[in-house]
Assembly symmetry: C2
Homo-oligomer: 273 residues x 2
């Protein structure tokens, strides 16, 4: 009997933002193939008997090719393994899910997609910024600033013209480039924006500013998410150019609840056959 | 000491797609204020001692106003209750989160936002449709077809022109209206689309067709999600006008895993003080 591949979203970083299903699959997996951006706290939850393998391709420096990942998934599943392909955030966007699923179909391998909390939603929740608002934004656009998808025919003017909130994945280290791309697409430099680093983790940092000022802002550690739009004003107010939260935010998460949950899980783990 | 309000995403419907954090909060809540669309299977997980209250406003028939919900949250939190405000999917989009959060800030009530798996992602995962694809769609747009947000100044032509995948929440019962709105915005009638009813639940139903044919399609039970774009072709092929999945899908979910998890949870519940 062949095994099965589970393409699973790991959520934005906080282990408590895993779904119950993702957690269960990490406990029964024989092999977990994970991307660079999956947080170490989440990898600690994987069953100790499972093989853990980093198949990340950070910053275009290819340690492993997409074809090699596909081959690995198929080979492992053919050897009757339960394979978890763990992707940070949600697997359905910006993660080459399409290519991996096509390879599994061609290989005749059973698979299942388990959605997760996407990083943009994790970032917005931490900063208390609603992503749509009856009076400020009718829609939400998720785009990536990554070079690989920087097709010159695909500028952002349509998104800007729509008035929707923009959530930009992988905005890059050069904030001046992303700010200039947004303004070339017609966005007012006065539009507020928030950049969030390592959203939902204990290392989370964030910066609220305008698109013009973003160009000269300090660079936060990757991975980051950039939220752009009037909705930012519902959580932050500008006073003399400095943006203050409408109320004080806790950037250090309280992990006591998580530990309690993890203990409950750990104590009741079924012994592996 | 005052209580606290947790604005929590319940995910698309499958209880296993709750986050660990959402599950934990449902177990410790004193009061749960939930929307109509939250599935009964999820409500069953709420701690038996908690007060459960439906504050839904289905189909514009207002059983309770937004102001009443805000008042209820503040009053309960002032009486030192742990209040969970449970919203289907993710609370950050199309759910009046902004208004509820503003009311809590004004009331001086501590709150926290817990993101969830949004219904659109749950629907796409079940149908095995990637929402972006390097070769088919560079971006994802989340919009609502609901009348309340049908501002005539805000047509969808910008989204259509961008070539992004569209995920439409609350597309309504009259599919001919939504199809006509998409085509007026410039979308080709030949564009494939998928309508998914009660995504990720045991009652899930779906229909894959083109935008032109959607007008004459049977109506599926609400709530539904409409996915529109070339990405649909990566999971479905048209043969003589009939759309078949690239592989057979299981529409009845295997709940055995869930039950096992739920038992683990239930056995280890701390006794309430």
């Amino acid at each position: 009997m062949k095994g099965k591949v589970y393409l699973v979203g790991a959520g934005p970083g906080d282990p408590e933002l895993l779904t119950i299903k993702a957690y269960r699959l990490l406990r029964i997996a024989d092999v977990v193939l994970y991307d660079d951006l999956v947080s170490p706290e989440i990898l600690k939850l994987v069953s100790p008997g499972a093989q853990l393998r980093n198949v990340g391709k950070r910053c275009g420096k290819k340690k492993i090719t997409q074809q090699e990942i596909n081959f690995l998934m198929i080979t492992l599943a053919e050897s009757a393994h339960r394979v978890v392909r763990l992707k940070s955030g949600d697997p359905l966007i910006f993660g080459r899910l399409g290519e991996e699923v096509e390879a599994l179909r061609r290989g005749g391998i059973d698979f299942e997609i388990v959605p997760g909390v996407t990083a943009g939603f994790g970032a917005a929740a931490s900063l208390e910024i609603p992503l749509t608002h009856r009076h400020a934004s009718p829609a939400l656009v998720l785009i990536t600033g990554h070079r690989a998808s920087h097709n010159p025919d695909n500028d952002w003017s349509n998104y800007v013209a729509s008035g929707a909130t923009l959530v930009i994945y992988m905005p890059g280290h050069e904030y001046s480039q992303i700010a200039s791309r947004l303004m070339k697409a017609g966005l007012s430099g006065e539009t507020p924006c928030a950049i969030v680093s390592r959203a939902s983790t204990a290392q989370q940092q964030s910066l609220v500013t305008t698109v013009t000022q973003l160009s000269v802002s300090q660079t936060l550690p990757a991975p980051t998410i950039l939220i752009v739009g009037e909705v930012v004003r519902s959580a932050y107010k500008a006073t003399d150019g400095a943006w203050e939260p409408a109320r004080s935010l806790r950037h250090n998460l309280d992990l006591s609840g998580l530990l309690a949950s993890a203990e409950v899980f750990a104590e009741n783990e079924e012994p592996r056959p």
